[in-house]
Assembly symmetry: C2
Homo-oligomer: 307 residues x 2
């Protein structure tokens, strides 16, 4: 617990927050308790990151914000240009070269009512902090996952495609994984189809065939996922986007995850199944290299350079 307090203290000391255009120290960054994001999780968000002062795949993230809003029927009273401008402003102010950027848009404050049609404004919150350094061992040795007993939200209940402030489903799966000694968890739907991890997409490889769950299983279309799909096609790799079942896991040679902030991380085990050691994962190594090149390429386009 002491460690948790220290981590939070560090977050406070190193973060900069923009609330509706006002740049604030983390300690002063507060929102009304009547904000629908706080009362109902009635908000959307997206996370991107920066490399040497460049916002990586920024357009894709902004697109996804609009898609999340559309899926939740959320009126956006802020323009695309405004979100971009405020994000750059916050990053400039922070002077952080390699930043984690969380953009949150809520349906604002309203009377206390479920009806979201009462929304007459948004609150736009941008949190900028130094990117976390993810443990080197994760990339070298792989991570250990479990299959969570917590089902991923049904598409017809809350569509996982919308990145929203309702994340208890994922929080509960993560909690279970940690309590059982795993690094993280994979989640299945009611049909026992693998969907995604608590905060990442999942990939499997068998005999050079790459497989990742189809979006109809109920998952967030990760931006890194989209990039990998393009890379597979561009490099004539054999990719199947299809139903993935837990019973198939045993048969795979490689497994890895993808995430905007973490890139590609090899998976060492899922429950009792042990995959190849990461240095022997040919497809993972290849895609990881290709993806990292893509990030460097994006970094050089300069459009979203803020330093």
């Amino acid at each position: 617990m002491k460690n948790s307090e220290d981590n939070y203290q560090n977050l406070l000391e190193t973060s900069i927050v923009n609330i509706n255009g006002e740049i604030l120290k983390a300690e002063q960054a507060k929102i009304s308790v009547f904000d629908r994001g706080f009362l109902f999780g009635d908000s959307i968000y997206d996370v991107t990151y920066t490399k040497d002062g460049n916002i990586i795949f920024f357009e894709d993230h902004i697109d996804r914000i609009y898609n999340s809003a559309r899926l939740l029927g959320m009126s956006l009273f802020v323009s695309r240009d405004h979100i971009i401008k405020e994000t750059i402003k916050t990053l400039k102010h922070s002077k952080i070269k390699n930043a984690y950027v969380r953009i949150i848009i809520t349906r604002g404050e309203t009377d206390i009512t479920l009806d979201p049609n009462t929304s007459f404004k948004n609150n736009l919150i941008i949190i900028v902090r130094p990117q976390k350094v993810h443990p080197k061992e994760f990339y070298e040795n792989g991570i250990n996952l479990c299959i969570s007993s917590v089902l991923r939200n049904n598409i017809k209940a809350i569509d996982p495609k919308a990145k929203s402030g309702n994340y208890l489903n994922n929080v509960m799966a993560m909690s279970e994984a940690k309590n059982l000694g795993y690094d993280d968890a994979l989640m299945v739907n009611e049909k026992n189809e693998i969907t995604e991890g608590t905060s990442f997409n999942i990939w499997f490889v068998k005999n050079n065939v790459i497989k990742t769950p189809h979006e109809k299983a109920g998952l967030l279309k990760g931006i890194t996922r989209e990039k990998i799909i393009s890379l597979c096609r561009k490099n004539q790799l054999n990719l199947q986007i299809d139903n993935c079942y837990t019973e198939e896991i045993e048969s795979y040679d490689e497994a890895f995850i993808s995430s905007s902030t973490r890139g590609l991380i090899p998976v060492r085990t899922i429950n009792n199944k042990k995959f190849l050691p990461p240095n022997e994962m040919k497809i993972y190594q290849k895609l990881s290299t290709l993806y990292n090149e893509l990030v460097v390429g994006d970094k050089n386009n300069g459009q979203y350079n803020y330093l």
Copy 2:
């Protein structure tokens, strides 16, 4: 939209908020953007109300807070007595005789991570405002409901028994209902079993047999629901707590909803089905009278009188 702004303005002017013991004007009532309730909806809450300075069924609501916390594995660093004391303090300060009381407990601020085991404190927020006067027509003429196309959350994904800050599922169902011109919505699960409304439990009557969905369908065990169950048993009314299917709706004579803040409200229609006019609903009228007597009885126990 002007109306929505006015309603929010009124909320601000008439509410009192207690944040971690500090009594604040609504306008000053703010929470850190790093609070897990804001970031992930990682919070629990309960709503009760008061009548002539008495908190109604307060113990039941406090019990449910503890149950919600248990279901979400949330550590509570605040004691039961503390929650009670702070609620009474806030009500006393407000001087509101007939109040709406919303008690929210979050997993506090942590580093930005899904893992809830990083939680080292709670934030306790108590919002007190004058109770809304629900339209008389609702009680006299009944309300019009639709069956939402939004499925209620699966018990194994996010258990509806936990009253949490993840309310987008209900928000989306309410939005659909309003957009289609209904007062509110009923929600079914993947098996097409009726679960509950967006913020209430549902009851049906046919030939003097009362029916309400079983909790295994996925619903919040409403405190008013529990009271009605007791009243049915005490008064030898024929009650079935069982699976309820949408196809059965056509066959019912009466339907009504139950909610802590609204009591019992007759339902006039569900989609195209029209029930008896409320003054001809014998069971509804009987249970409504019995329930109102119970509330008056509770009011007189004096234990949670704050004026």
